[in-house]
Amino acid sequence: MPHADSMPGRVPPAGGPGAAAAPGSEAGGSLLAWRLASVVLFCLAWEVAARAGINFAFPSFTRTVGAFLEMVLDGSLLVAYARTLEPLVIGIVLSLVIGVGTGVAMGLRDDVEWLTLPVVIVMQAAPMAALIPLVTFVYGIGLVSKVLAVMMLALPVIAMNSYKAVRNVSPSLLAMSAAFLATRWQQIRKIVLPEASPMIFAGIRLGVAEGFSGVVLAELLITPTGIGDLITFHRSVANFGHMYAVIVSIVVFAVVTVTALQYAETALFRPEKRSIR
């Protein structure tokens, strides 16, 4: 599990998958071309490797795309995503609200820090996937367990980054706002949150990425539904093209989601970063 401490502070955050996509200004067009080229190269290498016959369980790129289209057309992929998204979205929304809320409160107040920091550290350090079977003992195999699995993975990193972000707010800006008569609430809203937002968002991106792991783990470990079911099913009947198509689709979906979050951050909180672009 990635640790909040290893996150860079204010530099355009490099975090989860896809976060390396920080477009430069005038190089924007050619950068896109290079990225597309690398994707094409990857697909070609995949095709060549599969045709060379590395492994009978390794389908070619074209077969995988074919399987993907087939599952899109017969609706099975859509149904699976709808099932998977339910615990994912609920779990991530809860992790965001609780994680950012707790983290910011921990950063602002020493008593909250004293009370919750040990819990967060334990949650972040412990291999949460190992605890998923425990959750099913208590909450059964339904939606609650899956939501909890998402939260167990997503929440600690979000809380930890939010906490560190608030603690890293420049004391000089706090002194400045105090000198210009800011109330505590104005200080939080106008200084602490904008200052902390890049790091909080880095945590959110990591958390969302962890949430994807959580939901897939839950579907593989608790009960096979949605994406996890598709993967398990196609593996069991040796439909490797379909299995790979599902895996690649969830990876791409996660990357797109996490990248979209990065744009959301810039648009919401840091207009000066937008102007550099």
Partner: protein
């Protein structure tokens, strides 16, 4: 200690009789954790409309004293009165200029300058109008919608100065405002500060570690000695500041005062 240069009055208590004090510092003592005495027995008056420098080597507590006057720090003992009322925190009659500028990197120049008014709930159109006026006054017209990272160090401090002017406080507290900019910009700043005083009728408290800077801009220089910080001397250089700003640097009183202060301070330099 006796005055050595003509036209220089020295010694504690050399107060002008005319202007009433805006700020009175009474027996202020500041002890930091670990028993370090930063300030001890500081009693000073700051008269209206005057520019007073707090000058001394590092560790003499000059910034600490400024923060106490600004209400950003509560003294261990003693009190500060602003217009006769005890200071318990920052107030609208005092505005701060920070050594490291303390600009919000996510806000444009005009939002930074208008920030003090924004916090006071002044409507947006009104506060931006005030901000633009002061942005022009500090010589940054045309940069209203830029962000701090697009400005040079000197320009950033002009933003910090405009922000302090925009709240229209009586007292401007400046914490080594020019120490983070290069020497040329610094000189230009000092000249601009003298010109600014002709336009803005304010009381200035100016912390600096530069002897030349203190003598160049100040009506009155409070020399602090370190460990513990005490007032060692008060000097009032009588230098005419109207006319050519360059002439001040060649004025005999300027040169003598700089020399005199250096002789007083060199004993504290390791």
């Amino acid at each position: 200690m006796a005055a050595t240069a003509t036209g220089v009055r020295t010694g504690p208590g050399a107060e002008p009789a005319a202007a009433p004090p805006v700020i009175e510092v009474r027996n202020v003592r500041q002890v930091y954790g670990g028993g370090v005495v930063a300030l001890d027995g500081i009693t000073l008056d700051f008269a209206e409309g005057r520019l007073t420098s707090l000058l001394g080597p590092s560790g003499c507590g000059k910034t600490t004293l400024l923060k106490i006057v600004g209400g950003l720090l509560a003294p261990t003992a003693g009190e500060v009165l602003v217009r006769g009322r005890a200071v318990t925190g920052p107030g609208p009659e005092r505005a701060f200029v920070f050594q490291d500028f303390a600009l919000m990197p996510w806000a444009t120049v005009e939002r930074n300058v208008a920030f003090g008014l924004e916090l006071r709930g002044v409507p947006k159109a009104e506060r931006l109008e005030v901000a633009r006026h002061y942005i022009a006054e500090v010589g940054l017209a045309g940069f209203e919608t830029r962000y701090p990272h697009e400005l040079s160090g000197g320009m950033r401090q002009r933003v910090g100065l405009a922000r302090a002017l925009a709240v229209d406080a009586e007292v401007l507290l400046m914490d080594e405002p020019f120490s983070a900019v290069d020497e040329q910009t610094r000189r230009k700043f000092q000249e601009d500060l003298i010109r600014l005083r002709e336009v803005e009728n304010k009381t200035f408290l100016f912390v600096t570690h530069s002897i030349e800077e203190a003598v160049y801009v100040s009506d009155r220089i409070v020399l602090l000695s370190p460990r513990p910080g005490r007032v060692s001397r008060i000097i009032e250089p009588d230098i005419p500041r109207d006319g050519d700003p360059e002439a001040i640097r060649r004025h005999p009183v300027y040169l003598d005062t700089v020399e005199q202060i250096w002789h007083g301070l060199r004993q504290y330099v390791d």
